[in-house]
Amino acid sequence: MIYGEKVREHFLKPHNMGKMEHPDGVGKVGNIVCGDVMWLYIKVGKNSKGQRIISDIKWQTFGCAAAIATSSAVTDLAKGKTLEEALEISNKKVVDSLGGLPPVKIHCSVLAEDALGEAIYDYLKKNNLRIPKKLQERHEKIIADIKEIEERYKEFLQREETSGKKQSREPGF
């Protein structure tokens, strides 16, 4: 495997994986480089000082081993952090926490940073809270990519109708 041991651990036994019921914020991002997709859910609570913190976090990812490992790692880093702190988590921090990634896989980690940012954006927006300028700018950039991703995975997103059906070898398998 071209990956280091930490990546392997997160990839094989990812943390905080799965869907969240009734999240306070959701970040849905896609990467048009190779077509990976990550959805990240947060629950927001308050700490003893009354600051808003990420009290729970979950994710779902369609992508390579690096994408899965960075999804897992970013949620480890963000859990329990204040929203301000969480917004400081860069893809570089995520990569460092995994002991590095091959250069061709760095783009996968950008997804993790973006998904976290988007989930926080979603939460702030829904609750009419002030959105930092940097976050607003990043959101606008991401939205453009997402359109393309949604187009690409149209069928998967509408899968309800077909799910569960087994496919046979003939015809037109």
């Binding site: 990839f11 799965g18 077509g35 779902q60 390579c64 061709v104 003939e170």
Partner: protein, 383 residues
């Protein structure tokens, strides 16, 4: 349990081949061009290997050019004939969208040198339309190159029919037979140029052949001491040639029995894997190499799949964008009309002579669980 199901990538060198090659490293090490007994000994063995290879392929020994592998053979056949054609004012080549990169990238390079290339599409099963080949031939066409069988999806092309058309129309026909040799019977009657590789048939890596029929004019790409009838210079690699000839001999000898055995295993594998919901088979249902199975699993990505299978000891490959150095999905799967998302979740399992039924049972036990574990992570199929 370790299960190697990537035999289309490479195969282990078989014992008999290693034994046949063994003397040519330290003992019979002579340069086949030398006049003394060491040289003569090497020369004799080299020519025996050439004769054996030729007799299996039913061509003349002088039509066998040993190369460093099929990539060189493909490059040589296309560029070497192009250099001749240019002198005659011909500049058009025809190939398919699903060729190996050794052919496709050679074609693309030829385009930069002023040649025209037609890339024919394939149908949803990966088959080239013979009619379309015929229609694509122009006055200035000098060569058609269509692989005998595809390396990713295992589809067997109608190469003999295409070869016949080319010979009638006086156009050279080249076929990359790397995956087909030793797996299907091949009649080289109308084939002018054929590339093959030893390491796909339990021979050594770095060893291949380009069959160049007598009637074909070709310019060498590698100049030097005039080896291989002046077509490909470089001190002959006797061990490599002997290994190739032995591997080919054994592959042909066992072809029918292995075809029977591996077809049964492959079909068991295909039937079992298609039980997994939202799974499709890529390639042709019947015109398919006996050792190839290629699937797409919706909602998951191939590199993750390969690496999780690897943890369970299963070695396979994928056409996913994430696993390719340029982050593009497999050109073969896209040519079948698969969407990038479907190519994303592709898995190639290629069998070989060492695979057993027990191993297939193991794969059928493990694979559904691995697919399920990744679908649990996927936003498209999660919980």
């Amino acid at each position: 349990m370790k299960v190697y199901l990537d035999n289309a990538a490479t195969t282990p060198v078989r014992k008999e081949v290693v034994e046949a090659m063994q003397p040519f490293f330290s003992e019979k090490f002579g340069n086949a061009s030398s006049l003394h007994s060491f040289g003569v000994e090497a020369r004799n063995e080299l020519e025996k290997a050439r004769e054996k290879t030729a007799s299996i392929l039913k061509v003349k020994p002088s039509e066998i050019i040993f190369t460093s592998g099929a990539t060189e053979a493909d490059n040589f056949s296309l560029k070497g004939t192009a250099l001749v054609a240019r002198k005659e004012g011909k500049k058009h080549l025809i190939t398919t969208a699903i060729e190996h990169h050794a052919v496709l990238h050679s074609m693309q390079w030829l385009e930069t040198q002023g040649f025209d290339v037609t890339y024919l599409p394939v149908d949803e099963f990966g088959l080239v339309d013979v009619e379309q080949v015929s229609e694509a031939i122009r006055k200035d066409t000098f060569l058609v190159s269509v692989m005998a069988a595809n390396n990713e999806i295992g589809t067997i092309e109608p190469f003999e029919e295409i070869a016949k058309i080319c010979s009638e129309r006086n156009v050279l026909f080249h076929t990359d037979a790397v995956q087909a040799i030793g797996k299907i019977p091949m009649d080289l009657k109308d084939i002018d140029l054929l590339s093959l590789s030893a390491h796909k048939i339990y021979g050594p890596k770095g060893s291949g052949v380009l069959v160049v029929k007598e009637n074909v004019q070709i310019e060498p790409l590698i100049h030097g001491g005039g080896h291989e009838f002046g077509k490909r210079s470089g001190t002959e690699n006797v061990a490599s040639a002997v290994g190739l000839a032995k591997a080919l001999e054994l592959a042909e000898k066992e072809r029918e029995s292995e075809a029977k055995r591996q077809t049964a295993l492959r079909d068991k594998l295909i039937d079992g894997v298609l039980q997994i919901p939202n799974t499709r088979l890529n390639g042709h249902p019947t015109k398919r190499l006996f050792n190839n199975a290629n699937f797409s699993f919706s909602f998951i990505e191939g590199e993750s799949l390969i690496l999780r299978l690897n943890e369970k000891g299963i070695a396979a490959s994928t056409g996913s964008a994430c696993s390719s150095p340029n982050l593009k999905p497999s050109h073969v799967l896209l040519a079948l009309g698969l969407k990038p998302s479907e190519a994303h979740g592709s898995l190639r399992l290629s069998l070989g002579r060492n695979n057993t039924e027990e191993e297939i049972d193991y794969v059928l036990e493990v694979l559904p669980l691995v697919v399920e574990s990744l679908r649990k992570i996927s936003p498209f199929a999660g919980q």
